[in-house]
Symmetry: C2
Subunit: 282 residues, 2 copies
C-alpha cells in the first residue's frame, strides 16, 4: 500500500517518533532461512490445524489482472503476449506490476528498513491455521469499520483461544465489490479511501497476547481506508509478522477448521508481492 499522501504521513510519523525497531530476537529466530538460493535448516515450527483429513480446498485468491483495484492507482499491472500457439507453437505473456497488487503479501521490509524481504522470510510462517472473524454486519453500516479487540474476545468466547501460529483474517464482505474499482477503494469521488481494516487495539492484542503468524483482510489494506497513521502496518511489520491484503472467499472458512498456505514467490529483495492463497479445509 502507498500513495504520495501515505508517504508524507509515514515520513512525518517516523521523523516524530523514530523508525520502528525491528526485533533482533525475531530476526535471529528467522535467520536460519535467510540465505538466498537453496533452503537451509530452520528452527521455526510448522503449524497446521489439528484435524486429520482434508475434505475441501478453498481458493482465497483473486485473479491477478489488469483491472484489479489497487491502493496506488499507478501500481496497476500491464501484460503483453510475446508469443502465441498459433504463430509460434506456444504461448507466453510478459508482466509488469508493483508488488502490492491483487491478492498479495506485506512483508516486514515494506515498512521497516533492514527487516526481512520476502525471499528471506521463513517459509514455515506461510503455513498457518486460519481464524476468520466476521465483521460484515458492522462493515455494512460503516465503510471504515474496524476489527477490534472486542471482536477477537467474542470470537474466542465462541471458538476457544486463537491457536499458535494462526493467520487471523478479517471478513468484511468487501470482496463483493472487487469488480468495481471505485467501490472497492471506497472512493466517493474525492480521492479519499474508505474500507474496513484491523483496529490498533486488535493488532496490539494479537502481537502481545497471542502467538500469530500474521493477519489478512478482504480489503486493500490491513489498516482501514481512512487511516492516516498506519498503526497496524507499523505494529505488525515491526514485530516481524506479515499481512495479506485483497483476500477472496473468506466467508467459506467461517466456522471451519482450515490450514492456509500463502504461496508468495520469493521476489528478490521484495517488500511482499502477489501470491496464491489456498485453504485446506478439514
Amino acid at each position: 500500500m502507498c500513495s504520495p499522501e501515505v508517504a508524507k504521513v509515514v515520513s512525518e510519523r517516523i521523523a516524530r517518533e523514530g523508525r520502528p525497531q525491528f526485533s533482533r530476537r525475531n530476526f535471529l529466530r528467522l535467520g536460519g532461512v535467510a540465505a538466498a538460493g537453496l533452503a537451509v535448516a530452520s528452527s521455526v515450527p510448522v503449524r497446521v490445524t489439528r484435524a486429520q483429513e482434508v475434505t475441501q480446498l478453498v481458493d482465497l485468491t483473486h485473479v491477478f489482472g489488469t483491472n484489479v483495484p489497487t491502493y496506488v492507482p499507478t501500481d496497476t499491472p500491464s501484460r503483453e503476449t510475446t508469443v502465441t500457439v498459433k504463430d509460434n507453437g506456444f504461448y507466453i505473456q510478459r508482466w509488469s506490476f508493483g508488488e502490492h497488487t491483487s491478492t498479495h503479501v506485506d512483508i516486514p521490509a515494506h515498512f521497516v528498513e533492514g527487516a526481512e524481504t520476502v525471499d528471506q522470510y521463513a517459509p514455515e510462517l506461510l503455513v498457518s491455521p486460519a481464524v476468520v472473524i466476521d465483521i460484515s454486519a458492522k462493515a455494512a453500516e460503516d465503510p471504515n469499520a474496524m476489527l477490534t479487540a472486542d471482536d477477537i474476545a467474542a470470537w474466542e468466547s465462541a471458538n476457544g483461544e486463537i491457536p499458535a501460529g494462526a493467520l487471523v483474517c478479517m471478513y468484511s464482505g468487501w470482496e463483493s465489490k472487487w469488480n468495481d474499482v471505485a467501490a472497492f477503494r471506497g472512493d466517493a469521488g474525492d480521492g479519499k479511501l474508505n474500507f474496513p481494516g484491523f483496529g490498533p487495539d486488535a493488532a496490539q492484542f494479537l502481537l502481545e497476547e497471542r502467538d500469530i503468524h500474521g493477519i489478512a483482510v478482504d480489503t486493500l489494506s490491513i489498516d482501514p481506508g481512512n487511516s492516516t497513521t498506519f498503526d497496524v502496518h507499523v505494529a505488525v511489520l515491526s514485530a516481524g509478522k506479515y499481512g495479506v491484503e485483497g483476500v477472496a472467499n473468506l466467508s467459506q472458512l467461517i466456522g471451519k477448521q482450515a490450514t492456509v498456505v500463502v504461496g508468495v514467490p520469493r521476489w528478490e529483495e521484495g517488500s511482499g508481492g502477489p501470491c496464491r492463497m489456498l485453504a485446506m479445509v478439514s
Copy 2:
C-alpha cells in the same frame, strides 16, 4: 520455455501432425472452477498424503531474481525500486518478466490453443502427494539424461504404486548449477541446451497408466535440453496436466511422505507463471 528455434520446430510439428487435441472430458471435469473472480464449487477431489502429521516444511522454490537462468534469455526479469522506507516511509518494487521464469508452472494453454489458463485451472490440482524419482547418478554422466518408464518401475518396486493425484518430480541434481547460468542451461558456448528431463515413455506411462496431477523437474524444461520435438510438453499439457520447472531442494523429499502445494498466482489468461512451491513433510 521458448526460443525462435523452438517456435520453428513446434510450428512445423503442428503443421505436420495437427494441433494437439485438448481433452473435452477433462475440460468439463475442470469447468466448474473456470469462472474468473470468486471460486465456485468444484468436483475435483483434494489429494494429500495419508500421513497424519506435518513435521517439516521444505521450500522447493528458488529466489525469483534478475540473474536467474531462463530457457529464453530475453525472458530475464527486471525490477526497480519505486519508493523506499528512507525517502517515502515504505518500500515497494516494480517487476517485469516473462511467465516462464525461475521456479514456475506450465499450464495447458502454454502449448494448447483454447486450453485452460492459470487463472481458470482447478486449485485442487495444485495440492498433491509428492513422488521424487532420483536420476542424479545417470545425470552426472549424461547431461541430457531422461527419466524413463523403467525409472518409474524401479521407484514403484521400492515404494509402491504412484498415488492418485501425485506430482511426479525428477531430481537430477541440477539445482547445484542454479547460480551459474551457462552451466544450468548446459550451454557449452554453441547456444545449444543440455540438461535432464522426462522421457516420452515416462510421460506416456504416467498419463495412461496412472492418475497424476502433473510432473516437475529441477531443470529448465520438462523435456531434456536437447529435445527438438517437445514430446513431453505436448503430451502432458494436451492431457490437461501441468509441469513445474526450476524446482529446488527436491533431494530433501527423497524417501519421505510429503504433500506439495504449488502456489502459483492466478495470472490473468496466463500460460503459467512464477510460483511458490512448498512441501509439507510428515
